[in-house]
Symmetry: C4
Subunit: 230 residues, 4 copies
């Protein structure tokens, strides 16, 4: 069932290790088959060393029930499901505890858009969610998704494909699992550069026109970066 997607999600999980975004079991990638309404996700607490494509767990988008797989799905599965339901254009989601992005999440701060590396992939600041209420913690993983979605009320989730969950860490997404991994690498790099930049100059800012320029070089109808023919 969904062998191709399982393989893709499996490989995307291993890419997190390759890009030094996770140690031990501290991350997970999922991918969705929108037609079937099924999500493929990493099993919970399984080491990347021993994991096989067939260990990926298939979960129903709407009920959250395991449809196929002997292992428990990632404990963060309810967060992924809320995001897939709220953000119809995304096909893959990544969660890591990558060092610098997680540090910004622990700082409880949005990462301001102060560089073209950031603007090339994320239009706005990389937003940080607010505190959860005690009530929300009763359904912690589901509500993690809810606070993310709320934070994007006035932010376009396609143009800013990632978020910091306060005191926790980054989630990113994309049109598929690979793009979500790519965006998680960008977030970590952007978080590291912003840490250094604000240490050097706490008052630094970027001209909003430059953000538009760089974002539109790579996105939208007038994009001209890369090899895609217009």
């Amino acid at each position: 069932m969904l062998e191709e997607l399982k393989e893709k999600v499996f490989r995307a999980n291993l890419d997190l290790v390759k890009h030094n975004l996770v140690i031990f079991t501290w991350g997970n990638v999922s991918g969705i088959d929108r037609e079937k309404g099924l999500v493929v996700i990493k099993p919970s607490g399984v080491s990347y060393d021993n994991m096989k494509a067939s260990d990926m767990v298939v979960v129903d988008l709407n009920t959250g029930k395991v449809v196929e797989g002997d292992l428990n799905p990632s404990s963060d599965t309810p967060t992924h499901l809320v995001l897939y339901r709220a953000f119809p254009e995304i096909g893959g989601i990544v969660h890591t505890h990558s060092t610098y992005a997680t540090a910004w999440a622990q700082a409880g701060k949005d990462i301001p858009n102060i560089g073209t590396t950031h603007a090339d992939y994320f239009h706005d600041c990389i937003p940080c969610t607010g505190d959860m209420t005690a009530d929300q913690m009763a359904e912690y993983e589901k509500e993690t998704g809810v606070v993310i979605v709320n934070r994007f009320k006035d932010i376009n989730y396609v143009h800013t494909p990632g978020v910091l969950v306060k005191n926790h860490g980054p989630f990113s997404w994309g049109k598929d699992a690979d793009e979500a991994v790519y965006n998680s690498v960008v977030m970590e790099q952007v978080a590291k550069m912003a840490f250094v930049a604000f240490s050097v100059n706490p008052e630094t800012t970027m001209n909003p026109l430059l953000i538009e320029k760089h974002f539109n070089r790579k996105h939208g109808p007038n994009a001209y970066y890369g090899q895609k023919k217009k």
Copy 2:
């Protein structure tokens, strides 16, 4: 004698190198056989490159005397023994000079619990010990154990399996040598992220409810992370 434990402790020592927690001879791992009252520990000042499982030294838990082995045990052995005696549930201990955890120890500061990465494995702050008196320095390694144990008077050592010895570096522990190594990796990662987070926002804190939530996802009767059946 204790061949299996020697092999385990030997491999755990090498894991410190693999995880970039030690250079040269700057670290040691021990494991205990509680039934026999014997501790297996790395020899002192021996390079990881040439070390063999048979070089591990067997020491009596109560007397501290070498029971087997041609080499001197780690100079930190008296610290390990004090901890094994005071903390009956631990089976392995690790000491390193890993960069960021050691830097916090040199700063003389507890690492506040400001992130779920921390709360997943350490319930409280990672505490830093106080200064030793001149008298204590006469039996330095033993008294290092004593100041650690004193620091845990009001902290549960099972739920917070590590400490910073002021101006020195981290010790961690666990149910066996492997878990102690795991926790030493977590401490280093947590120390690095906290350094960055406080640089970005010196005032950051975490909601105590979130600490409970994350700690209990992985520990205690209602844990639901990973593949262990409840």
Copy 3:
């Protein structure tokens, strides 16, 4: 056409990966044949993993038109061309988003010359350009070259072979592509050390005489570093 230069530029692009200055497609190297008035440059948005020497694109120095190659040239090509036209002694140009140099660019600050590592290769501060006007952004990549050239009105581009483009990242150059790569490595290293040095001592400076001494050890008629006979 220009097979040797293509090979050289191709290898210089791969050297950026080897020196950890780029991830994904975030960098480009070009080289020039001054006699023919032709520039060889990396194609836009192509991964370093699959790139071949024959993928390098040949562009006319004056018109900017592609003379040979099936792929689009780097989107930064107009910047390279402006620099080649304004700086007649350079034979190679590098652009990266290397972490620390980019962070200084995002901070919008010149990197002051506070060390001999810096002075050995860059006589002045590593200058940061100013903000672009809205008008300039209409021809963004060309104008990026213009703001760089303007910044060098009072700086000798041979003696200070690199610049930070504000909020964007570093460009460096040299007598050929290899030297431009070398200088990009130096810039990144200098940027990292300056970040740490100013964190330790925000007021630090260097005696201008020491700058002259070190720069002239390696450059000019009385250079005595290395193996070149005088």
Copy 4:
């Protein structure tokens, strides 16, 4: 001539690369044969990739003249010679531009002794030299040695085997080339940890008694670290 020492110095130079203390040609190691009054040192500006043991240059301790070798000796040779003459107990010297130690040198600050990692190998702060006068710069490399020696008027060079040359970088030494390399690794690690520690707590200090304790665990008549029999 001195084949064994050449091999040893050659390997020590390569160890700098292995320990990530140098890139390109930015470092040098020398060793001395005290009986013959000859110093073996790395050639100037030669890449570590191509260097052979037979490329090492033999220099007369007193005259500074090349006694054997086709290549120019390191441009820092006069510094090494001053140190060998002033510090009779040392057998090897290392100079690098390692990142964190160089950053402290650029900051123009002594590295205070705030940790046992430091105290295990360096009894005092790692001192930073003062500014050179214009006159001294006329014989720059020789005078670099002079300012180092002056800085050690009240510091025991055997117990504190390294120094930061202001705005330049670290020199370290030891009983032979290998120990000098070892100490250069320690300096870099100590410099990195001190950078982080002072960022976390700018006021941190260490009890001087703890310095004595740790230093004497490894040095002097009552040392008990490692496998050397007392």
